[in-house]
């Protein structure tokens, strides 16, 4: 496995609108979760060298890592988790945040986005998947 951070398609080729379109066509948990897992598979692998405590996001029952890089005005995020569904949810988050400026990231209404996707509950702080913690961490980094 390479030691290079590879930019994700999410946010760069696949936008949050694309994700919204994708989910608009799905109904029922099976279709939605199939889609989530598929998206997760398209995440660029995070090199093991980045999977260190410094990058680990607390508050997840499963392990999750977040690496952030700012180039000029815009951000790229690199993520990994050891579960399929969280990977998919992270891909969805990155579709909204990657390639955006700090201002855009702060402005973006992620709750509304997840609500439209029918995934409100997955973003809730009361869930153990850690998604809320990742989003909070991204917002903190880009403040």
């Amino acid at each position: 496995m390479s030691n290079q951070l590879i930019n994700n398609v999410f946010g760069n080729e696949i936008s949050s609108d694309d994700v919204l379109d994708l989910f608009a066509q799905q109904s029922g948990w099976e279709a939605r979760y199939r889609q989530i897992i598929l998206l997760g598979k398209q995440l660029a692998a995070l090199p093991d060298l980045f999977k260190i405590e410094e990058h680990q996001v607390d508050g997840c029952e499963s392990a999750a890592w977040l690496v952030a890089r700012q180039q000029d005005d815009s951000w790229q995020f690199y993520v990994a988790s050891d579960t399929r569904i969280v990977n998919g949810l992270l891909a969805i988050v990155l579709a909204a945040y990657n390639g955006q400026s700090s201002e855009k990231i702060q402005e973006f209404d992620i709750e509304e986005y997840f609500a439209e996707l029918g995934l409100t509950k997955q973003l809730s702080p009361s869930r153990s998947n850690g998604l809320h913690a990742v989003v909070a961490e991204i917002k903190r980094l880009t403040l």
């Binding site: 607390d58 029952e61 509950k121 809730s124 702080p125 009361s126 869930r127 153990s128």
Partner: protein
């Protein structure tokens, strides 16, 4: 759930309020119950009882690390209550609100955790009017770590002797632990001033808000206190739940106290690391229904016109004192300038316990005894007092019924 009751006259107001408290709708020993023991514990309004019910009937699950929707729902309600408490006392952040089983446990937590950072000869400043909960934990700490306890005396009218404070505060003073409102005299202490003076010598201040939170607005940032503690059951909430508020840097610096599940990050036999605030101080399955019930109590309290309630309690206080003063056998104990919802008195030549027993025969519930404030009783030269105390549901009728029963009791004896 509860609308502000306005545009009604006082009696309708009172009736609407009392209708929300099922306990008050009963007879005691054949008389309508007159509950004047709210300082011991307040009664609970329907929305609080209902919130506990709904939790057990619909949402019951263990909180945090939720994989299933029941647990997510319970967690959401549980953590929402933390937000409500943070707002209620104007805490800078929700992570500064730590659940305990009551004010007593909250004080023990600070005494045993923050206290473990103190050293030989360090001083703790208490006052003569403290409840045992705000004395004994410090005594134990002082014994274990060879600390010195100093005590702020009271003035003749039952207030803190502020002149004494400047002498008692020394550069060795580490903690000042003081009640916001006396549970015996009702005296309201000048906390903001005390905090300022204490901070000048580098001491931290813990405020025992047990008798304050139900009766007056509390703003921990305006007070600038370092710790603030209270119990849910004295503010229309359930038993078994209380709050420790603390300043973040202090809470972070404090060693963990009770340990177990939930409060850890990683456990192994070679070493364990701990979770962040607030969880660091919350081991084990919490009192989930208690927390949710306390949240409902805060929603209830904030739905009220608290200024009006406060005013009503003050009017009743003045009225009850005036009525009591007309009885020659009665001596009121303390006459603080600012007094909150509590009156203590003694009856010449009679034991408080006899009076309370005979009042009980007439449906009047008041408290008799040392009120967990023996050092105060010693200072007053009393072996106990009779205490009446008010809540948002107390009415002039309650006070009148009490006075009538008291007169009857005095004639009887």
């Amino acid at each position: 759930m509860l609308k502000k009751v306005t545009n009604l006259n006082q009696e309708q107001n009172n009736a609407a309020m009392r209708a929300q408290f099922p306990v008050l709708q009963q007879q005691a020993n054949g008389y309508p119950l007159v509950y004047l023991d709210s300082a011991a514990t307040t009664q609970k309004p329907d929305p609080v009882i209902e919130a506990i019910n709904v939790y057990y009937q619909q949402d019951n699950a263990n909180v945090h690390r939720a994989a299933h929707c029941l647990s997510a729902r319970a967690t959401q309600k549980f953590e929402h209550a933390r937000d409500l408490v943070a707002q209620f006392i104007n805490a800078p952040s929700r992570e500064q609100v730590i659940w305990t089983k009551g004010a007593t446990e909250a004080i023990n937590l600070v005494a045993q955790s923050y206290g473990s950072l103190l050293n030989l000869g360090d001083e703790i400043l208490l006052s003569t009017m403290e409840h045992h909960a705000n004395i004994v934990p410090w005594q134990q700490l002082a014994q274990q770590r060879d600390l010195v306890i100093r005590v702020i005396p009271l003035t003749a009218n039952g207030e803190l002797d502020m002149n004494a404070v400047s002498e008692l505060l020394t550069e060795r003073t580490r903690i000042v632990a003081i009640t916001h409102v006396s549970n015996v005299l009702g005296s309201v202490n000048p906390i903001a001033q005390l905090v300022k003076m204490s901070h000048q010598v580098g001491a931290k201040v813990l405020v025992d808000g047990s008798q304050a939170v139900a009766h007056m607005p509390v703003d921990v940032q305006a007070l600038d206190c370092d710790f603030y503690v209270f119990s849910g059951h004295k503010m229309y909430g359930p038993t078994g739940i209380g709050v420790l508020y603390g300043k973040t840097e202090l809470l972070n610096a404090m060693p963990v106290w009770q340990t177990g599940g939930e409060m850890i990050k990683k456990v192994s036999f070679s070493g364990t690391t701990f979770n962040a605030l607030p969880f660091k101080f919350e081991p084990g399955t919490p009192n989930i229904s208690g927390v949710i019930g306390l949240g409902a109590a805060i929603e209830f309290l904030t739905s009220l016109d608290r200024v009006a309630i406060h005013n009503q309690e003050q009017v009743l206080l003045a009225y009850a004192k005036q009525q009591l003063e007309q009885l020659s056998e009665i001596t009121l104990i303390g006459s603080p300038q600012e007094q909150m919802a509590v009156i203590s008195f003694v009856v010449k030549g009679e034991h408080h316990s006899d009076i309370a027993t005979l009042l009980d025969q007439q449906g009047i519930a008041i408290r008799a005894g040392h009120h967990c404030a023996m050092p105060l009783m010693d200072a007053l030269g009393l072996n106990g007092t009779l205490r009446l105390s008010f809540g948002c549901y107390t009415t002039k009728q309650d006070v009148d019924a009490f006075i009538t029963a008291l007169q009857k009791t005095l004639e009887f004896l």
